[in-house]
Symmetry: C2
Subunit: 375 residues, 2 copies
């Protein structure tokens, strides 16, 4: 029941002290090093003059007595902390989990720590989260915005904000976006190149930059191929897999001529996949399926799902780096928006529609990964 090699139970255990020993302060440190608190502070921070011999003595003493600067006192005094708020919708969704992971790693390496608030897509919870960030004086916040209110609150208080994945109109913060139009156009073109002409788009919203971009890319690809744009093929649904499943079933009942289905995100893809399985349709023979946002199950099923990989880790790391640059003053003064270029991952869920020969044309000029099914 033990991690034997590491539990390090060698030292005698301290008795459960009723009052745990007071943490050493910079006063204690100064006393230990035989100097004043001011000098100790300068020695640690490197601001101002300190004789190098003294600095060494202070560092040694700090190590020796186990001095850890009090983050709260610092934050109070400096009116800013090493904390960065991360406000996302649903950490259970691999997209947000990877985003958060990328952010956390990059920020931790730069000496910041993250406070994570899950808003569940609720504007109310989002505002609550922003309030928390203000209360603890985060130096910056990274937000996948829901309503814009939270972002505005933070910006109005002078907090550095980076919007991730999507941006609210009318707010000039930094942002990191995925090139949704490009990715969507590319994967739609992939279907068209295979010979599909009746391609349905399953989508939950077109008000955010994400949904709007994906819809635009889908349209652009059809237009470029001079295919008709049939509004009935743009299938609205709610964000839940169950809703998507029902929507797909309704669509296929209504339109048996659909040969390819494009799910605008991983949740919808899940529902779509379940619907197709439930109907006993075989991929890619009976229907081709593609999805925006590559998540683990898509490479586990057989055949694997052809997707647009958003490079979510990169997205997160880029957000974090933007924050770091801003806070260190090395970012340009104007608000910056960076774009992550997504890439197409071709797997087995796409093929020429039944009885149609593939075009000779390739998938376009952009990088394409061809991934085998697992194994």
């Amino acid at each position: 029941m033990v991690r034997k090699p590491e539990d390090g139970g060698g030292e005698p255990r301290r008795e459960a002290a009723p009052h745990p020993r007071r943490r050493p302060t910079i006063q204690d440190l100064a006393r230990a090093a035989g100097i004043s608190p001011s000098t100790a502070s300068r020695a640690l921070s490197g601001n101002g003059y300190v004789a190098s011999e003294v600095r060494a003595r202070v560092l040694a003493a700090a190590e020796q007595i186990g001095y850890v600067p009090d983050g709260n006192a610092r934050a109070l005094r400096n009116r800013t902390s090493r904390a960065v708020g991360v406000l996302i919708s649903d950490i259970r969704n691999p997209f947000y989990a990877n985003l958060a992971a990328g952010i956390e790693e990059q920020l931790r390496a730069a000496g910041y720590h993250v406070i994570v608030v899950n808003n569940g897509g609720q504007a109310e919870a989002e505002v609550e989260g922003a309030r928390t960030f203000l209360a603890v004086r985060v130096s910056a916040a990274i937000v996948t915005p829901v309503s814009g209110r939270a972002v505005r609150m933070l910006m109005d208080d002078g907090v550095t904000v980076v919007q991730a994945d999507r941006m609210v109109d009318g707010l000039t913060s930094d942002g990191v976006l995925v090139d949704n139009v490009q990715g969507s156009q590319e994967i739609t073109s992939h279907l068209i190149d295979l010979g599909h002409t009746t391609i349905a788009l399953l989508i939950d919203e077109t008000d955010w930059t994400t949904g709007a971009g994906r819809l635009a890319g889908y349209r652009a690809a059809l237009r470029a191929a001079r295919l008709p744009m049939d509004p009935a093929l743009v299938v609205p649904t709610r964000f839940q897999p169950d809703a998507a499943r029902d929507a797909v079933n309704a669509l296929l009942d209504r339109r048996p001529d659909v040969t390819a289905l494009f799910a605008a995100n991983n949740m919808l893809a899940e529902g779509a996949f379940q619907a197709l399985q439930g109907r006993g349709l075989r991929l890619p023979d009976d229907l081709s399926l593609v999805a925006f946002d590559d998540v683990p199950w898509m490479s586990m099923v057989s055949p694997g799902i052809t997707t647009v990989d958003q490079h979510t880790d990169d997205l997160g790391r880029t957000c974090a780096q933007l924050v770091i640059d801003r806070l260190s003053g090395s970012a340009p003064t104007l608000a910056t928006v960076r774009y992550i270029e997504p890439s197409l991952v071709i797997r087995g869920s796409t093929a020429a529609p039944h009885g149609v020969r593939t075009h000779a044309a390739g998938a376009g000029s952009r990088p394409v990964t061809t991934a085998p099914s697992p194994g």
Copy 2:
């Protein structure tokens, strides 16, 4: 490119102020309400006498001027904060993501916020994370321990610690564990009931409570069925899917008589699944596959994988609740360990071995969910 209904761009925008307006302090609040800071403090916190008329005035003024108490000043003064540290291994792994989500939701509802540190399974990063927690004076920490050093550091400083999923020996903190022995025994018995006698266990470690418990449960099930325990069927591997895949391939080359495979966690299951796919083996006809820890892809593939569901959300929420109880002083004084009872989820990946008839016996006395394949 906008979330139209909510962007709320109605109010005139504040000019980008060179010095963002100073945040109102309790002094400002006191002035606005025509009383002293002390009284304002009492009005807000409810400690001590305040005339109800005055309290109302203070609350109104707070609302009006947008007063938000400074968390750092509070933390400095009170020597503790509303922050709880969450120290986990890999938020990209759905197990940890769900754990973190459960924790965050429960704590947020109780007015705490979480600082998340991903240690990547590295003892060094874990200690670094603990140092961060100490620096910001978290009031408690929830840790999936790697080495025990971090937990010890925190406890030595008087921080309330809850160990999650596994516990380090020799440290008497609270903990929330999954009943690994029970879950493992149950799923192994399920295979035995189906008629399997040559069941391999793929496992990465047996030093932590998790691995040790799962191995013990596997053994107990074999013993209960009076089946021989063949040490060569306990297959060690590293924690990565790739390593697990190689290990499974090597096993099946060596032991073609294996009819069922039990992967001790979701990462190993991923590798195992890939290996089976790569070999063109059909589930459950050629081999039965089961896994400890139910993650999304396991219900997406066909057939679905039979698993032990650890109720990870519950695990997280229970940890959080333990923290809340401890901090509010309502937990028992002694260290408490709570157990989460896992449950068996039977899907299509398990069946009688080729040419064997199923026992009449049921799966045992514990609750069992039978989940259909998706659709």
